[in-house]
Amino acid sequence: MRAVYKKEMILFSHTMQAYLFMAGILLGGGLLFSYYNIIGKSMDLKPVWRGLLYIELVLVPVLTMRLMAGEHAGGTDLLLMTSPVSAWGVTMGKFLAALAVLASSLGLTLIYPLILCLFGSPSWARIAAGYCGVFLLGMLVISVGLFMSSLVKRPLSALLSTMGVTLFVILADMAATWFGNGVISTAASWVLPFCSAAYFTNGFLTVPAFVYFISITALFLYLTIRSIEHAKWSKGRRL
């Protein structure tokens, strides 16, 4: 797992994806912070976090597109799968590498609350909760992207399929709000990640929401491992 993690970090440092992702996070976060907090003179970072949630849904597929599909496209899955490393090790190594890029990008945005400290006393508990929500959603989308990448042969297919899933999530979230406080809206709040992330961005660290993110992430990581194992019993390569 460690070898795969290190390899992915080297490849992230030598290719554009991680830099594009970081640039997108910093650009989006910076614009939102400038508009709501600097110009709007607000101490509340909730609009920045809400904006980062949507930015993650668009940019995380860029980060994950190459993770498994790139190996298939380049033929390097042969190297990986004939090495003494389990499917679990491969999956977790890649997942943790993408998570490290996400954490680094979000870490750079910690300058926003530091700037706010110059003008007042923001609640660090709320800030921690907000960043936790953004990080957990990003982690979930990484696991989805990794799974989609394991199903296809080309990075572009992985990008489009993951973006399809995230677009569905955005549209479903928007549709759920149209139904007000009815049954559909309640059901949606149990399923859609935005609703769980909202707890964090509103400043609440709730156990059910935390469990939601961890369990859905674990589910997609498990599905990724099964996808890799399944390939060995078929042709060994994706169609």
Binding site: R2, A3, V4, K6, K7, I10, L11, H14, T15, G74, G75, T76, L78, L79, L80, M81, T82, S83, P84, V85, S86, A231, K232, W233, S234, K235, G236
Partner: protein, 307 residues
Amino acid sequence: MIEARNVSKKIGSHYAVKDASFLIRSGERAAFLGRSGAGKTTLMNILTGYTFASDGSVSVNGIDMLKYPVKAKGMIGYLPKNAPLYPYMTAEEYLLFACEIRRVPKAVRAMNIALAIEHLSLHNKRGRLIKNMSKADRQRVAIAGMLCADPLVLILDEPTAGLEPDDVAQLRLVLRNIQKTMVVATSNIQEVTALCSRVYIMHEGSIVAHDAIENFTQTAGGRKRISVRLAAGRSTGLELLKNIDGVDLVECTGSKEPGTYDYIVDSTADLRSDIFRSAAKAGIVLLGLKPMSVTLEDVFYQLTCGG
């Protein structure tokens, strides 16, 4: 060292590999020779654990690939076809990765990498991105990556495919000097004779022949092999042929025509006229008398083209 028992790989209704069984001992260098589509790469993928067989088993040093894949894979160094590498890594980064993923102890990594670089003449290229290297250099990096993990067995799939003749010669020299158990999958007969001592000929997924290479090829003594068809009983034909002076070995290969039997006669001289005269003297009708080619190339074409 590597044992395959009744290995088959079914894809849909088609057998990519059918009932392959063999044992490659420690120190042996074996080649799997076959045309494109014969099943060589599929078999190599099964041996290395990239894909699992539909039937049968593979074990490496007694360790079952299906039950303990991580342990079995740790003993194999694999050079896949076209040597896939990570283009955005430097040669040194790749070799470090190869050592790490194969769990080479930290204390010996630097030494193994230095030896591999020395062996493959990569001194001036260690800091170069792989995507900026020539095909031959990429092949060298791939082989170096395989070697620096110090595996027990090397498995190479078409190691010199697509290379210039000079690079082919250099690479073959490097591979010849590696003192390890080696399995080479190739469609190049010169590669077989240059690198290996034993050959398995594959055709349509099956191993159709296997032997030491010297038993396939004509030696300096000029062994001859003649195919004979006699219209006589099996024991009568065998006795007739064995009694001819100069015959080393007679083997009855069965009957393809009613009332006749086919034989293969091994000798060091051309005994066709002696066989003809002996049959005529004994009153036995000689229906077929043909010299059989004994070079590896001819055997390969006969077995894979039916000619």
